[in-house]
Amino acid sequence: MSLVDSINRTTRRIPPWTLYIVGVIPAAWYFYLGVVGRLGVDPVKELEHSYGELALQLLIAGLCVTPLRRFTGIALIRFRRQIGLLAFFYVFCHLLVWLFLDVQILGQIWADILKRPYITIGMAGFVCLIPLAVTSNNFSVRKLGRRWRTLHKLTYLAVLLGAIHFVLLAKGFQLEPLLYLGAILVLLGLRIRLPRRAQPA
């Protein structure tokens, strides 16, 4: 039995809903660490960054599902909804920390969203994810049919906006945000279908 087969066999036994449980633990853990003063001396920034980075990593994980199957045969499609919803959850947590623990001042929040490109872009990414989260259920998949697939292509835009948001907030020329952006561009690039020569009838 090949490695891929055994991976697929093992993952098939994991009920997808368990990902929600595992996925939410870091959020709760970081928040707890922040409350008890163990997130360093600037816990608000740390929490904000941790949630944001986890969100981006989950979005990237979601983008990996299809290429992974295509190139290796590892099938994780059963977990893609959970990965996507967890990504949305972390983006939402990231936003909540920014709103209620970081900026806090309504006037400044609104001004920031309108005036600061990196916040505008981050916010736009979040807005893109809302309809995706709302339609991440079997009922919507049935109801929307083919349009569901089209709608969920918004992920590509959202994840790109997320990466740009990260790149734009860096001070100086920093490597990490660029690596995220690079990984995302590669994963998006893999999805571009090159025009094929016309098939003989």
Binding site: D42, Q104, D112, F173, L175
Partner: protein, 304 residues
């Protein structure tokens, strides 16, 4: 001319060695007794009263921007040990009467150090209160004799690729350079710090000697200085070279002039815990009475 400026901030209850229960601990105990737990740490008391007292040693020495050692806030504390700070010498040149290479010990033997408890406001909108030990830059400049043609002071940080793991990547155009107008440099608030809380300044905070200009954003206060040049023209400064739209030569703390990417109206005081929130940023970081005259008639929106 030491002692030209007197502290208005208190170190009363901040000495870490203090044995008895201080106000913060009492507040924490009261909070715990009320069933709240010491949420956000005892420092919450500070934010509540609005009183300014120095941050703790651990806060000051584990949360640093010193990109030569990495861009993470904890990188400097982790990696700056590699920097050799003894022996150390500073080249003082340019428009001075007695240019030369001055050893750290030589400088220290001629300077009078004193404690200065200053607000420290980072351009990233966080802030601390730091009890520096140091001497006035003016004293050092007087020691070497500034020529009348000098208008600016340029500073340079050590650049040691073998000891500074962060310089292998061009986050900034190394070495780090900064500058002040001569009157800013001669101002009694401007010091060269060599210690914190009466101890030698740790490497991550800019050992063995660094600039502190409390009314400007933290990045102006250049660390681990190896060269001071008196010059006629405004010298280049690192962050201004990296992004002139975001970081001006003056970079005075100014709540009315935003950084293009974030507001400078408020700041997060370090040490308040997760629920402490922000406080309003003060013009010239609260040193307006002392320094506003330096900028009289200047458009601070233009000269940010």
């Amino acid at each position: 001319m030491a002692y030209r400026w007197t502290n208005d901030l208190s170190r009363e209850d901040a000495t870490p060695e203090r044995a008895f229960l201080n106000r913060r601990q009492i507040m924490a105990a009261a909070a715990a007794a009320a069933g709240l737990g010491a949420i956000g740490g005892p420092r919450g008391a500070r934010a509540a009263t609005g009183e300014l007292d120095p941050n703790e040693w651990d806060e000051i020495t584990t949360y640093n921007n010193y990109y030569e050692f990495g861009t993470g806030k904890s990188d400097p504390a982790q990696y700056a040990d590699a920097l050799t700070t003894s022996p150390w010498s500073v080249t003082i040149d340019g428009l001075v009467d007695r240019p030369g290479e001055y050893s750290f010990d030589d400088i220290m033997s001629k300077m009078t150090t004193e404690e200065r408890i200053y607000r420290f406001r980072c351009v990233e909108a966080w802030s601390m209160v730091i009890p520096w030990n140091g001497f006035e830059l003016a004293d050092l400049l007087d020691m070497v004799g500034v020529k009348s043609s000098a208008k600016y002071v340029a500073f340079e940080t050590a650049l040691r690729p073998d000891e500074m793991r962060g310089v292998s990547f061009p986050v900034l155009d190394w070495p780090y350079v900064e500058g002040l107008r001569l009157d800013e440099a001669m101002h009694p608030l401007t010091i060269i710090a060599t210690g914190i809380y009466g101890r030698d300044i740790p490497n991550q905070n800019g050992a063995p000697l660094r600039l502190v200009v409390p009314w400007k954003y933290g990045f102006k206060s250049i660390k681990s200085i190896v060269r001071i040049s008196l010059v006629e023209d405004q010298p280049p400064t690192s962050w201004n070279k990296a992004n002139a739209r975001e970081y001006g030569f003056y970079s005075n703390v100014n709540p009315e002039v935003d950084h293009p990417r974030w507001s400078q109206a408020t700041e997060r005081p370090i040490g308040g815990g997760i629920f402490a929130g922000r406080k309003e940023t003060l013009m010239f970081n609260g040193y307006g009475d002392d320094v506003a005259a330096l900028y009289e008639g200047m458009d601070l929106n233009k000269y940010y």
